[in-house]
Structures are given as structure tokens and as C-alpha cells.
Symmetry: D2
Subunit: 380 residues, 4 copies
């Protein structure tokens, strides 16, 4: 274990993602002791002072701010981590890059590809380390899936399918907008399940199976009006409650994607499956410690889907945790992301997905929404 | 048990479906003793005499024919059961109806809706009992799903998804056409997975969730040329190896369907799921004795997907078989279909799906194939 | 398909097992066409004439008897199949053997090893083909397990565990004795779950893992008194409701067995697992088309329990049925048993388990019950 | 969030358990902000200075010691946490209690009940808060199981079964003794799987189902000799590699327990099941976020085992973590234990399992080992 440099973090936003990121910064050095930097929780920034202060105390941030512009001015901040609603991502990220800060941005990069593009330009022009928190790449089972794909074991890929199913917005009594509910307001979120959930599926898909060439989509808004918390009045719901699309990947395989918040019985069921000529892979978020693997080269009478418990020390990231059979959880994906980000500082390599990587996902999302609107195929 | 009348069966075709139907006729009276008719295996008809004769001996048919027209002339035949390749369905069925025979036809009804329509006209004009062997309606778990849907327990339906995944045609060495492989030849089959597999999914979907209004599809033929067994030469493959479509149901729910023969690791995995506001249902053919059911009205801390083993006597058809916990298999669906057909003779009610019911499935299949070809939405 | 000889069956008893056996005789020639004999349902015998006659009509037996001694006198009967309550097995089997009939006997062979021994002597002295219907050996997944064990793939065996869990006798209102309920009356059944359920587990275990050397058991009767249907009065319950034992196998491995009719939520859950140094196997009756297999020689990062769907043509018995992915059910095990019995007539080899094989299971059951009674280890 | 008092921790031992406990102390205040105390990592103590120092640096302990007696003398230490091999527990715990420190002890309490008894006496005489880290009580699914049992939903309990299956010691090349392997040396560990794994199962069982009255056990040591790391020579293996026992609970139910390190394919598979007259519960450690629940009062046609994903905010501890569907892992059980220990300081209630609670588990373990040795039933 070498002497570590501090990496001073300035966190913007203290909601659900603010918690997951804070936890990751605090745990990474205990479990990844060989990295050159140790994150320090320097400051958290939020608009509401009492809440921001309470968050700082609970998580032991050294200080807090109520204006993110002040945060950017501080010399004791190395990296800005953006956990705001999506409509704030672009301006904070661009200003942070211009201020020479590293930038870590919650996904999706912004509400649209158009809004995302200057963010990419800004970090690349500034030459600052940057990454987008598509955390599911770093579920060990998913990382292992990537290694298996890269090994060529799957052979020619025929099919990629993924869905992300939830059921938390079925009640018509749920309002939209405001704290905790901005994801239901297209002005803040950009879109509904497409940007919130399918963006995860698309990021993983591009990583595992390459670029998406064209898409054909349908979206639906099942509940047309909801009370908006800002106005107290019923307003038209402008997000997509559900989105389905099929597509061609550049490698010739067919893709199938679905997301909804109206799939009764599913809480956060992100499922993916890849079918190759020689082998197939399947995974889901509700059982994240397992990878299912089918190898056609097994003896025919004992060939079946293997349920692999991804907890042994030779599996991705797992030498850092416990012993075989002992599960990790959702938040570990963020610890892994921070660890890889710190490693990227040591190696001066980019930490994927970068802003540029995330732009491609935004472009697919835009094509999906355009396809649904125009009822026609769209090239990405 | 009343005195039974004989129902004399004339089977046309002795392939895979010829076996499943023959078995069903032979078993039904042992397990459903209260029906008014007992099927009698009067004659089987096939083009190749030695094979037809061997089949007749193995299954103990009383006689055989090598020309189906001869079969229609026989007074000792009450019902014609059509198990030929799809391109033969229409002419045999129409002639059988015109000869006043009951007609049981393997699915799909014919290669297209256009070819199917005169079949419907024929049986309706003749007024003969008719049914199409969409056997999966009669998996007890699927029949129970129908009862649950009809009870209203699911509430408003938001999503219906189904897929039928196989992997048996991945090898490029597999030829097309001829015995056992006519399903790979569009001339005989009409289409690939759309008519062979998705037709099953569509039939069940319409039964469970009502009509399909419009569709947007994509198809793919992964292996472009295969040797044709008739010519011994490489010929263009004209079937769809894979087909995906999304759709709107008339009730406002979204549908998602996929079928492929290139999903490595899946043998005959027909899966369906319905998500309602209040409850959801899930089923798959590899575990056909189970129904998964999620009831949102359960206590929140013990609410989960129930894995229901559909083997108790109060479940559909199961009072006829064994005791709780003891599985039935694939072929029982055909026994149930025969039992229901016999019951329909007793009651003079139609036995669903009738030719007319199956025409709707053909219309959806046609819209799917047209949508894929023209890359646009198609109304059904 | 060769010319077949008739094998004339005389069935004694028409209860649950009478149905499963009758079905097996009727189906076997359709699916196993190459055997030298075709079973013919010659006669069924039962004490109550109207029920026996109704059974004969439903299953199309050519005749019926109300005294099994009459059956033995008939020259047109080749084989006696015993499906009576357990207390009748010995006398019928011994007389049948003495009459020179082949004998097929439902399990367990008799109520005790002492009662079973003269049965073994009788069939061996008479030199008649004989077998005991421990049908679970012939679930294709279990037969495959045997092939895997015999291949040596498992390496040294450390553990064998099996249980058979039911919940159908939990209600205190259930009476004992009489038709359908003789299994709850020790006078008729010999014991409770030990002879009814654990006997199955023991038969499979000896087949897969060799002899059992010694046992240590506990039994329990949760409901002490039940109305007896014969007397209409409350009587002491003399069967074991639950039985657990551990044991040493002759090969040095440890065994663990449990059976109960008080495991709420389990219908007929027979589960077995074998752990060897190199590989393990797991199976259960509720999902009988699957075998779970763990192979330690797989690559460490993709090693897991394989869920193998035992439906392909290269799996035991499955070339006789349908196509990959299509399930068979409980009753197919009896068809397989008949097929193997018929094959044994062709080859003049014994059809396992023979009466002698089944005697060993009876001896283990006796040791188990003695151990429980005396609260001490018992050698077998 | 109130002003928090510091709780200064002195950790003895820095092995696997040292890591899990350290992590728990560091995370608890972030996720359980309302507790009156905040753990402070004051000192870690180990015999090897360089390793102890490295551990202190990695985990940011303020100081370290190489003699635990020194630790007890320090006024700035409030609580001693014992993570040493089992043979060291008693002397450290007794001295710590005598020094007026709170004591948290890794399980099992000591090697035997005899060795454990003075530990109980010491903490009770000193009146110091004490607890034993039987962490699996605090898997949310297991805690929920306890709530369900306490609610009476299960009705009369008939069966309790649990096993803990591993496969990590199958290789004969594995040595015994020394760091990381002291669990294979009876001198240090007391016993093999009985104290290491079954002790967990027994603790949970007593908690859920009450006291165990008597036991009948068998143990096995499959590999008789292994190289000892201390001497470099082959020595007799004195631990139990496997242990099976059945028992009566005081409430009249039957218990069945098994543990082994020779169950190929299982990493750390702790499974438990309770069968009551009205409902049943099942859980396993490999899928720790799920609880399976069977409720016999459900409608009969849709009754099945519910797979409940224990991640919603109304489930035990889960309001502190993420959102529905997002998993937690193994180490969270220790965070929960610390949180409950801190809460017990606020309330001045004991934090179960106390030393006294853990003594009962030790007594059962002793009876199990005596029963196996003497091949007879033993009262607890």
C-alpha cells in the first residue's frame, strides 16, 4: 500500500444518487487499498440549506455549499460529481470542465444528444478526466459477461435482448415533479423510462455487442394526467411510461428492448440476454450475484444453463470482497466505478463510459423517441 | 359412464403431429370417461405406402389410404384430421367440409389469411364441427391463466409479452425442404418462425387479451442459403429465421412478441407474461406444470411471485390425471383438445379455436410479415 | 417392427396404481414399437363387482374377476400385476409365482422384510420374471443420473441426501383406513411414510450409491388419533407421519433421508442430491424433466449448477417421445418400466428392481423403523 | 439527527472477521443516522506488528497494539471486539469484562460450553453490554422470517430443517492450522463444521423455533491426515468435516441439520425451512435477498411458494438502504448488528444474541458432538 494522494470531491445533489456516490467514495479505499488516490468528501452542494447541511453531517462532508458555482471556484475541490436532476447536468458539467475540474456525471448524460454534445466538447477541450455513472457495467456478473463476449466464446451473435421492468408508478394518485418525483416530469428528466431505464440497457448493450444501427420503437403513457407537485394542479404527463424497440446492431444481430414502470410484480428487474452461435449469457438485477451461462460445447446430455454464483475471488472485483458464496449488493457497483476511476487517474487512461461513450447512448435514446413519435424506423 | 358412440377418425399425415394426435385419440376415453363419443382410429392416409402402412400398424389404425381423396369418399370416416405440411391444409380441409366431414386442422390454418379464408367459408357453409390444434391453450396452467384473466383479478392490462425461442437451425449444414424439414421451406410452410411459432403465441394472446390492432415488425434470415433436399442444391432460404414485433391490443395494452430458431440454449421455450394493474401472470413451456402469479393485494412484506404447481384436482383438466405434485407433459394438451372437441359434439357448441378464430391469427401473421417487409406499422 | 406376441395381463386392484399401470400397458407399443411383446389387458380383479366392472369398461379390459384366485387359474393370463394394499402383496405374489405366472408387484414389496422374503423365494423358485414398480428409477433424469454415476464422473462420493415431502395429512379431520386411505392404517400399509415414500428414496439410493450399512432414525406421529373409516370411531394412529434417518453407505459416504406428510407447501416433492469429489447431481419430482448437474472441471469463472432439460433424443427413453423442450410427465415412468420389462422378456435378463432387489429396500426400512423405536443405530 | 457520542472500538484480530466488523463500524452512521453513538475505530490489535499496522492503515484505525492486554488498559477504548481464533475468545472476553469494557465476540462463543460458561459469568458479573456475532439473524429476510413466526401465521410447527453446505476442503492437498486455516485445526477451532457452520444454523433455529431438547448425530472426517502448517508434517485431522443431526425441539417439532465442507457445488449455502400447519418459510444465503413463503390460506388454484424480494422499505432494515429491487449483500448483516448494538446502548436493553443466548448454542453443539462420538441420543 503506497502513500495515497487525496482526491477532493465536490458533490452536487444529495438525493438517491448522492447517497450511492458518497458511500462509494467512503468505502473504496478500505477494499481497494492499492490505488494511488483516496477520495475525500470535501463538500456537498444543494439548493436547500438545511437539507444540504444535514446531509453533510450525516455523511461527514467537510463542508457544504448552496450554489454550485461557488463549488467550482474552490481550489480544494478536484472533482465535481453531478447528481442533480437531468436538466441541470449540462450547465454544471460544462462549467466544471471549464474550471478544470474532473467531472463525474450521473446518467443519462443530459436530456438529449443535442444537450449532451457540448458537454463532451467541454471535457475533451479541457482535457479533464470524465466518466458517466452507468453503474451496471460494474456488476461483477456483467463485467464477467463482457470478458466472455470478448473471449469470443459466444461465436457469431444473433440476438441481444434486455428489459427493465418496474411497477412503482401504476397508481394514478402519484403526483409528478418535485423532489423524488422529478423523473416523472419530462421538463426535468428529458424523458420517462427511455432516459431513466432503457439508457442503462443501451449502455450495456453497446458495451457488450457494439453499436446500434437503426431502431423501431413504440412508447405509451398509460396515465395521461397527474397532479404536479409544483403547481398542485393536474397536468398532462409528458414522459413515456413504457417504451419498446427492436433494432439492428452493426454486427448484424437483432436487438429487442423494453422498459416500463407498469409491469406489476417487478421492482427493478433489469434483465439481459445474448445468444451467440456457440454460447449464451443471461443476467438480471434482482439476482445480481448470478450469471447464467449456456455453453453448447458441453456434452449434450449434461448441457444446460449454468447458474454461476459470481462470488469467487477469480471473478471481476470479487477478490476485494468476501469469500465464495457471500453476496454483494447494488451499491458495490458504484464502489467499483470509483475504484476504476481512481485507477484511470493512476494510468492516465480514460474511465469508460466517458462522456463521449455516453453520447452514443443519448443518440440511441433520441432515435428511439423519434421513431416512436413518427411511427417509423430511425437510423442512429 | 354412458354408452359411447364411435367417432371414426381419418388422419391425413403421419409425421410429428400425426403421432401427437393419434396418441390423444387413444388416451382420451381412459381419462375422460364421461364423454359421449369414443374416437376410433379408422384410417391414416399418407403418400408413401410402406411408411403409411408401418404407421398404421404401430398405432393400430384399422386401415390406411395413400390418397386423401379416397379417405373423403369413405362412409366410415366421421372426421378428417389434417397433419400435412401447411400448403396442403386448404385443399384437404375444403374438400373434407364439402364431403360433410368434421375437420380438425393442425395449425396454422394455412400459409396466409388469403388461403385460410375459403377454409373458414367451407366449414361454415357445410356446418361441420371444426377446430384448429392450437394446443397450448390447453396446458392446464394456460387454461388457468385464462380463468384468472376472465375473473378480472388482473385489473387493467398494461403489457402482454410472449416469445418462442429455439436453437435447432443454427447449423449452416442443415438442409431445407422435404420430410421433417419442410418447416424450413417457405413454399411448404408459408413462413418461418412467424407461422410455426409466433402463431401459437398470437393465438394464446388473442384468447387471453383480445384482438391485436396494429403491429410493427422486423424479421431476419441469418443463414441465406441452404441445400434443398428436393434438388440437392443450395437455394435461397425464403423463411424468416427470427421475427420480432410490438403491437397495440384493442384494449390499449402494449404487446411484445419474439420468435427465433437462433437462441442458443433454448429448445422450445414458449414464454408468456401479462401485467395488469392488480396482478400479473407468467408461464413457460419448459416448466409447463407451473404457473407464476403475482397478486398485488397480498400483504406487502410477503408479496412475491408465486410458483404454483398446477397439478391439483381443482385445476383445469387435472382431476382427470393423477394426484397433487405429479406432472403431466406436452402430449396431454392434445388429449385435452380431443376431450373438449368430443364435449363440443355433446353440447353442439363450437370447439375453440375454430377455423374462424384461427383466421384472426393468420391475419395478424400476415400483418407482421407485411410490416417487416415494408418497414412500417400495419393495421390488422 | 416385428410381429409381436401378446402378453396377457391380469391386474389385481384398480386404485390409483391400477390406473397408472393400465395406462402404461396401453401406451407402450405405440411408443416402443420394437419390442417382442404387446401387453393385452385381459382381466382386472377387484373385490367389489360393480366398481371392478366399471373399471374394466373404462379401461377396456376384456374381462374381470372378483377373486384373485380365479385369475390365477386362468390359462389366458401370462402376468399378474399386484396393485392391492400392501398387506395383500405377499399372498397374491406367492400364489401367482406358484401358478407359474410372471409377477409385477407395486412397491413396497410387502409390509416388512420378513413378509417379503418368502415372496422372493417364491419367484426365484418358480423361475418367473418378476419386478417391483419403483418407478422413479425410470424418470429419464434419474436414469441419466445413474449413467453419470456409472461413468465415474462424480469421483469419490461423500454425500447422498433425499427427501420426500408432502402435506396432505395435516388436517386432523382426515380419517384413516378404507379405500383411498389405507396408507394411513399400519395394518394395511405396514408403516407410514417409511414404506410409502422413503422406500422410493431408498430404492433409488441403493441403485445410485450402493448398499446402506447402518441407520439412525427418528419417527413421529403428529396426530395421535383419527377416526377409522371401518369402525367410525377414533382409533390410535399407528403409522409414522414423518421419518428422518442418517446412515453410512457401504462406500463410506454419509446418507440423509427425510419424509413427512406434514411439510406444508410440498405436494409430492421427492428430491435427491449426490455430492462427489468431482461433480454433483440434483433432481426433484416437481420438475421431473430437469436434472441439475455441477461439474467441478468446468472453467472456474463460468462453473455453476447446470439446469439440464432432459428432453433431447439422446437422453434416456426420450427418443421415443417428442422433440427437445417438450416435457413428459409422471406416468411415463410406468411406460418405461413396462418397456424395460418387455425388453427383459426378449433378452431373458432380469428387470430391475427384481423382488430380490426390493427385499434390500425392505430390510433398510425395517432397520429404520427399529432404530426409531429403540433410539439406537441399527445395522441393515 | 442528534449529537452523537463516540463509541471507541478496540478490535482484536484482523482476519476475515476483522474486516467485516471494521466495515460495519464505518458504515453504520451513514445509514442509521438516528442512533446515539458513532463507532470510532480507535485501535486494532494483532500479534504480528507489520500486518497489524498495515491493517490499521488500510482501515484507518487511529492506533494499533500487539498485545491485547495493553488494549484493555487503555481508557480510550469502550468496547472490545474479539475476532481471534476460537481458542482465544474466553481469556480475552473475560479479561475485557473484568476491565469494564463492553464485549462483542465472534461466534462461536468459545470451543465448548464448558469454556463458554465463565465468559457468560464474567460479562454478567461486570454488567457490561455484550453480544455474539451470529450475523445471519440480521439478514432482512431472516429477520422477517422471525416476525412471521412471531405473528403466529405458521400455526403449529412440525418441521425445522437447515443445512450449511460448502466444498472448499475437498482437496487433500489443503493443509491445516495457521493463518486462514485454523478452522481446520480442532485445537484452535474446537470442532469443524459443527462450531463453524452448524452453530449458525442452531442459533437461528433456537431464535425462530425455540429450544432443542435432544439430538442424535453423526460426524465424519473424510480426509484423515493433512499437513499442519505449524510443523510442516502430516498430522491426524481432528475436526469433523461433516455433521448431521436430527432432534426434537421443545415445541414438539422435528429438526434436521446438516453441515459439510464436502458438498461439491455449494460455496456457502446456508438453507433453512420451517413447516407449520398453516404456512411455511424457506431461505438460503446464496440468494439472501429473497424469502420464500407459502401460505396455505391462499386460494387453492393460485397457491404456491412466493419468491419475495426483500428489498422494500417496509421490510426489516431496508428503509435504511436503497429502493425496491436493489440488493444488499453479506456485509450488511454486520452493519445491522452494529446498529442494533448501538440501539441497545440507547435503550439499555440487551443486544441478542447475548453471551447467555450463545451459551445455549454451545450446549447444543456439545450434545451433537457427544452424540456422534457415543452413537446415542443426547439431551441438551
Amino acid at each position: 500500500m503506497s502513500e495515497k494522494k487525496s482526491l477532493n470531491i465536490g458533490l452536487v445533489g444529495y438525493g438517491f444518487m448522492g447517497r450511492t456516490h458518497s458511500n462509494a467514495y467512503k468505502r473504496v479505499s478500505d477494499f481497494f487499498p492499492d490505488l494511488g488516490h483516496r477520495p475525500v468528501l470535501k463538500a456537498v452542494c444543494g439548493r436547500t440549506e438545511d437539507r444540504t447541511k444535514a446531509f453533510a453531517e450525516q455523511w461527514r462532508y467537510e463542508s457544504y455549499e448552496t450554489d454550485w458555482r461557488e463549488l467550482l471556484k474552490r481550489d480544494d475541490i478536484d472533482a465535481i460529481d453531478i447528481c442533480t436532476p437531468n436538466d441541470q447536468h449540462a450547465k454544471v458539467a460544462i462549467a466544471a470542465a471549464e474550471a478544470g475540474k474532473m467531472v463525474l456525471c450521473e446518467k443519462p448524460l443530459a436530456r438529449t444528444a443535442e444537450e449532451s454534445t457540448p458537454m463532451v466538447d467541454a471535457v475533451e477541450k479541457a482535457g479533464v478526466p470524465n466518466t458517466v455513472w452507468y453503474n451496471y457495467r460494474r456488476v461483477p456478473a456483467v463485467t464477467l459477461a463482457k470478458q466472455i463476449v470478448d473471449s469470443g466464446k459466444l461465436g457469431q451473435i444473433f440476438h441481444y435482448r434486455a428489459n427493465f421492468l418496474q411497477d412503482w408508478t401504476i397508481s394514478a394518485d402519484l403526483p409528478q415533479g418535485g423532489e423524488g418525483l422529478w423523473r416523472l416530469d419530462a421538463a426535468a428528466a428529458g424523458s420517462g423510462v427511455t432516459g431513466d431505464l432503457l439508457a442503462h440497457c443501451i449502455d450495456t448493450a453497446i458495451w457488450l455487442n457494439g453499436s446500434i444501427a437503426d431502431v423501431s420503437a413504440v412508447t405509451e403513457t398509460f396515465i395521461k394526467e397527474r397532479v404536479h407537485t409544483a403547481t398542485g394542479e393536474k397536468q398532462k404527463v409528458t414522459i413515456d411510461d413504457a417504451c419498446i424497440f427492436h433494432c439492428h446492431f452493426a454486427n448484424g444481430s437483432l436487438g429487442l428492448f423494453e422498459s416500463t414502470r407498469y409491469a406489476r410484480g417487478h421492482k427493478a428487474l433489469y434483465t439481459l440476454e445474448i445468444n451467440g452461435a456457440d454460447a449464451s449469457i443471461r443476467w438480471n438485477l434482482h439476482d445480481l450475484n448470478r450469471l447464467e451461462f449456456f455453453d453448447h460445447s458441453d456434452d449434450s446430455t449434461t448441457r444446460g444453463w449454468r447458474s454461476v454464483h459470481i462470488t469467487d475471488g477469480d471473478m471481476p472485483y470479487m477478490d476485494k470482497w468476501w469469500v465464495p458464496g457471500l453476496c454483494i449488493g447494488y451499491e458495490h457497483t458504484f464502489v467499483h466505478h470509483v475504484a476504476d476511476f481512481l485507477a484511470s487517474l493512476d494510468s492516465s487512461e480514460p474511465c469508460a463510459p466517458t462522456f463521449r461513450d455516453a453520447l452514443e447512448t443519448a443518440q440511441v435514446c433520441d432515435a428511439v423517441l423519434a421513431s416512436a413519435k413518427e411511427r417509423s424506423w430511425k437510423d442512429v
